[in-house]
């Protein structure tokens, strides 16, 4: 959003049209030697790119592509047993001298004077990179005093000024607070303040917004962009999200399987990508701009499957001693939520973390006990079941019809069981099938349904990638021929290219098996692609409920507008974040 202006500023400064080169990475290779005698695993192979002053380079790739290792190599932070196996990292100092960072001793003094001083880094998870036992202020002051000869008092004033710059409200008070008193977005701001404390020439940001909500992400991206302008920094921004790339990048480097696939200016990459994989990445963002349900001509029956009325979930005061409850203000995680779900319909529930969407899903599954309200489920034969009060056999029958797909494909499969055992478990305990031959046949069918070969049945979950595991999770949900599947952030832990595959798989299965879905996500794009109707949750309340197309194009509620405008667009030409809608809670 500021590439053009930044370029001009730098251009004036240097007195030439082209921006000055700051960092050149040439033929960089990093290998990991897992143990002596084993063959070294290559994490980065022969990577070349250049960072110019005042410009933003986005390193894009899926998990395991080597983008973080590349960034760490620049800072000399490659962890044991990894090592730079070859290549140069040429850093152009202000006085014009070039230093090869790859050849410097990462622990030596020359490198330390560059790291943190001229090149700073911010990380994905601000909670783990900030100390929990020191105040935010003392951490920033320490960073300042490490690189500048100033008194404690001067450093404190600088720190307050930095906190003001990163827009932390009332910085004079905030400086003495501890990490846990900051929200995720505030922590990331504090990290940025710390990184800026020595006016670096290059800022490396390693997925700084991945752990944040989409609205907070927009704020942080905006902040980084403004700070970049103010300090004239270059930024290396590591991300897996092409939407973010479209918003902020000047140049893009696409990595895959430890190699650099493509490198060029952002428009070139988006408009004339040479590599199929790059196009796939861009496509996976753009696809979410449309609804797959309308394209497929989905039919929704008027018959109501699940009817939720005035559902409440509150957590009382903490239990102390022998089960006595403290009289304290109860936290209302879900406030009076009502909706209907029709047969064959996909209902999306969207909201930020802490909005109560997962609590709602857990109440629907009776993993949590709702505090008040009714959940009425209409059985196959037309009779109604009051889920909130059901128990024993009725609840077991409900759990046969309504199944769940979990967010984390690594935690949701028992690592001690083979795929066959995992898929057979619901069939066995519900006495649907008992003969080993029948079970084997059904497991084969299920694996076939989710596009996995039948011969993987004897393997353990550790042999599969995230996407494959999520397929197994879906197969488990389908084992009992359910009528409704509740998917809680089922695609959030997956890479973007896998995400659309899984979504399409779920839609295909829906048509074959006449399913309904309740799909919970923080990602409006996924919801728009997948769902017929959307419910927007904000702080436990359902603020908007309507057809997906309407909610995602002309939303009623201010919060939905903010959410919508905070989601990055799919092309550098339509940057949204610069003029996004902000929601202030009334």
């Amino acid at each position: 959003m500021l590439s053009a202006t930044t370029l001009d500023i730098r251009g004036e400064n240097t007195g030439a049209g082209a921006p000055r080169t700051l960092l050149e990475v040439r033929n960089l290779s990093v290998t990991f030697q897992a143990s002596i005698g084993r063959q070294a695993v290559s994490a980065v192979q022969d990577v070349n790119f250049t960072v110019h002053e005042g410009r933003t380079l986005c390193l894009v790739g899926e998990s395991g592509s080597g983008k973080s290792v590349t960034a760490r190599a620049i800072l000399g932070l490659v962890e044991e047993p990894g090592q730079i196996a070859g290549g140069q990292i040429l850093y152009h100092r202000e006085d014009g001298i070039q230093t090869d960072l790859a050849a410097l001793d990462p622990k030596g003094k020359p490198f330390r004077s560059i790291r943190g001083n001229e090149i700073a880094m911010i990380f994905q998870e601000p909670m783990t990179s900030l100390s929990p036992v020191h105040t935010i202020g003392s951490q920033i002051i320490e960073a300042i005093r490490l690189h500048q000869l100033v008194s404690r008092k001067q450093a404190r004033e600088q720190a307050i000024e930095l906190l003001r710059q990163v827009e932390i409200p009332s910085p004079e008070a905030a400086i003495d607070r501890y990490t846990f008193e900051y929200s995720g977005g505030m922590r990331q701001r504090a990290m940025i303040a710390m990184a800026l404390s020595c006016s670096p020439r290059l800022l490396i940001a390693d997925e700084p917004t991945t752990a944040l909500d989409v609205t907070t992400q927009a704020e942080i991206l905006d902040l980084i962009a403004r700070m970049q302008k103010r300090y004239g920094m270059a930024v290396i921004f590591i991300t897996h999200d092409m939407g973010v790339v479209a918003e902020i990048a000047d140049d893009v480097a696409v990595m895959r399987r430890s190699q650099l696939l493509e490198y060029g200016p952002v428009r070139q990459i988006f408009d004339t990508a040479e590599h199929g994989y790059t196009r796939e990445l861009i496509e996976s963002v753009r696809r979410l701009e449309h609804s797959a349900r309308t394209v497929r001509g989905a039919k929704v029956s008027p018959q109501v499957l699940l009817s939720v009325r005035e559902l409440e979930k509150s957590y009382g005061g903490r239990a102390t001693g022998l089960g006595k409850r403290k009289a304290g203000a109860a936290v209302r995680a879900v406030k009076s939520v009502s909706f209907d779900l029709h047969r064959g319909e996909n209902l999306g529930i969207v909201g930020e973390s802490g909005s109560g969407k997962t609590t709602l899903a857990n109440c629907l599954m009776r993993i949590l006990e709702p505090s008040a309200g009714t959940i009425t489920y209409t059985r196959e034969d037309g009779s109604d079941l009051e889920v909130a009060r059901a128990g024993g056999g009725a609840l077991r029958a409900y759990h046969r019809d309504v199944r769940m797909v979990f967010q984390d494909p690594f935690a949701s499969l028992n690592p001690r069981m083979t795929v066959a055992q995992i898929l057979a478990e619901p069939l066995k305990v519900n006495n649907v099938l008992t003969r080993p031959d029948d079970l084997r046949k059904r497991v084969g069918e299920l694996l076939d349904m989710v596009g996995m070969p039948a011969d993987v049945a004897e393997r353990y979950p550790h042999a599969f990638s995230g996407g494959q595991r999520q397929r197994i999770g879906i197969a488990r949900a389908l084992a009992l021929d359910p009528r409704l599947v509740v998917a809680d952030e089922a695609t959030s832990a997956l890479d973007v290219t896998l995400r659309s595959q899984i979504l399409d798989l779920m839609l295909d299965l829906q048509e074959r098996l006449n399913l309904s879905y309740i799909f919970i996500s923080h990602d409006l794009g996924v919801i728009r692609y997948f769902c017929d109707r959307v419910a927007v949750m904000y702080r436990g309340e359902m603020v908007e409920l309507g057809p997906a197309d309407t909610v995602c194009s002309t939303p009623d509620h201010d919060y939905t507008k903010a959410l919508l405008s905070a989601a990055p667009a799919g092309h550098p030409d339509e940057k949204r974040l610069a003029n996004r809608h902000r929601y202030e809670r009334p």
Binding site: F32, S35, V41, S42, A43, G61, E62, S63, G64, S65, G66, K67, S68, V69, R72, E79, Q124, E207, T210, H240, R257, S258, A319, G321, L322, G323, M365, I367, R396, H399, R400, R403, M404, F406, Q407, D408, A411, S412, L413, N414, P415, R416, T418, E425, P426, V429, N430, M452, P453, D455, V456, E458, R459, Y460, H462, A463, F464, S465, R476, D495
Partner: protein
């Protein structure tokens, strides 16, 4: 989405050679990488073999006193002789002669040159019963001439053969540890599991109980319990009582670990998934939760065994645990409690060295197991 640890992609089915390897196999492969632990496993295996075959390995009955061989120094075992009949294979020890200093009247042993006591491998010995059941009359090392005595590790103040006593002590000390750990394991699993799975009031009561037990000063407690034990009980019964007493205090650590794991695992999504699959509570616990704990339990048990050995040794050393005529490492070390043994019979400390070796080995195994327990980490 961190990608700092690059893993080989396993996208193509059939790419991973250990894809069908079970959890236990992975754990074993990982354990084998820990060379020290593997070596320790060998040592502990040997020690248990000794304990198992004590009667066969010990050359003499452990209680056999011999007034003529008090504080006899160790005799080296030699394999070849070279005498008038030529050089030949003949396992033997050199005989020692007792001498008394005419001035100080102090006794000392000097090597009796030329005098050998021939010994035989798998030679005949006085008949005995292995494990008190199988009648046997051969031992690993036996004197060729019945009635002759040799002391590879010397003798104690009553002239009893240290090697035989050590071998029998190994059986008692190593199994005493096991029995105690077994009881701790059951108690710890049961109470820790209940505490973690149900939470609430049950958890509160069990946690307070654990805190109470942890607050007890152990040495006075043991003194009281040892004093309460009837003196006329046979050593075997005393042995069992000591086991129970030691383990009644030892279960608390395991219970806390198990509780923590249960609490954490109760809400893990594969356990929730099992509940939604329709599994009964018992099936959730035994089929889904406990197997995940098994590796950790094994590791903590391996680390608990050496603690038990130390506890037994130190209690017996203080005279609170096993008492003579029972034999254990601790009882043997009781003999080494005075200055005289240090100056005159340093071989009485051999049981102490064995305690160190056994405890270290078990600790290394525990370390290796703990690292291997979660083969999916790293």
């Amino acid at each position: 989405m961190t990608d700092t640890a690059p893993l080989p992609q396993m996208d193509a089915p059939g790419a991973a050679p250990d894809a069908t390897a079970s959890h236990w196999k992975l754990m074993w492969l990982r354990f084998c990488q820990h060379k020290l632990a593997l070596f320790s496993l060998l040592i502990v295996g040997l020690i248990y073999l000794v304990a198992l075959l004590a009667e066969f390995l010990a050359p003499f009955p452990p209680q056999e006193a011999n007034a003529r061989h008090v504080y006899h120094p160790p005799q080296g075992l030699h394999f070849f002789v070279n005498d008038d009949n030529g050089f030949r294979f003949q396992p033997h020890v050199t005989a020692f002669r007792m001498e008394r200093d005419p001035v100080s009247l102090r006794t000392s042993y000097v090597e009796d040159e030329g005098q050998i006591i021939p010994v035989a491998f798998f030679g005949r010995s006085t008949p005995y019963r292995l494990w008190g059941v199988i009648p046997m009359d051969r031992q690993l090392i036996a004197p060729v001439e019945a009635g002759q005595r040799f002391f590879i590790m010397g003798t104690d103040r009553l002239g009893r053969d240290m090697l035989s006593r050590l071998i029998h002590g190994t059986r008692v000390s190593m199994t005493l540890g096991l029995a105690g750990v077994g009881i701790s394991l059951v108690l710890g699993l049961l109470l820790g599991g209940l505490s973690g799975y149900y939470g609430g009031r049950i958890d509160w009561v069990i946690q307070r109980l654990i805190e109470y037990i942890l607050s007890l000063p152990t040495i006075p407690l043991w003194m009281a319990l040892a004093a309460a034990m009837p003196r006329n009980w046979p050593p075997t019964l005393q042995y069992f009582t000591i086991t129970c007493i030691v383990s009644l205090v030892g279960w608390t650590e395991l219970a806390r670990v198990v509780r923590g794991r249960f609490l954490a695992m109760r809400d893990e999504s594969f356990v929730v998934a099992a509940r939604l699959d329709g599994c009964s509570q018992r099936r959730v616990i035994f089929r889904h939760m406990l197997p995940s704990l098994a590796s950790h339990i094994i590791a903590s048990v391996t680390l608990a065994v050496p603690l038990m050995i130390i506890a037994e040794t130190s209690l017996s050393f203080l005279g609170l645990g096993l008492q003579p005529p029972a034999i254990s490492w601790g009882v043997l070390l009781q003999e080494a409690q005075n200055i005289r043994s240090i100056t005159q019979a340093p071989w009485l400390f051999i049981p102490g060295a064995l305690v160190v070796v056994a405890v270290l080995s078990l600790n290394f195994i525990g370390d290796g197991l703990r690292d291997a327990a979660d083969p999916y980490s790293k």
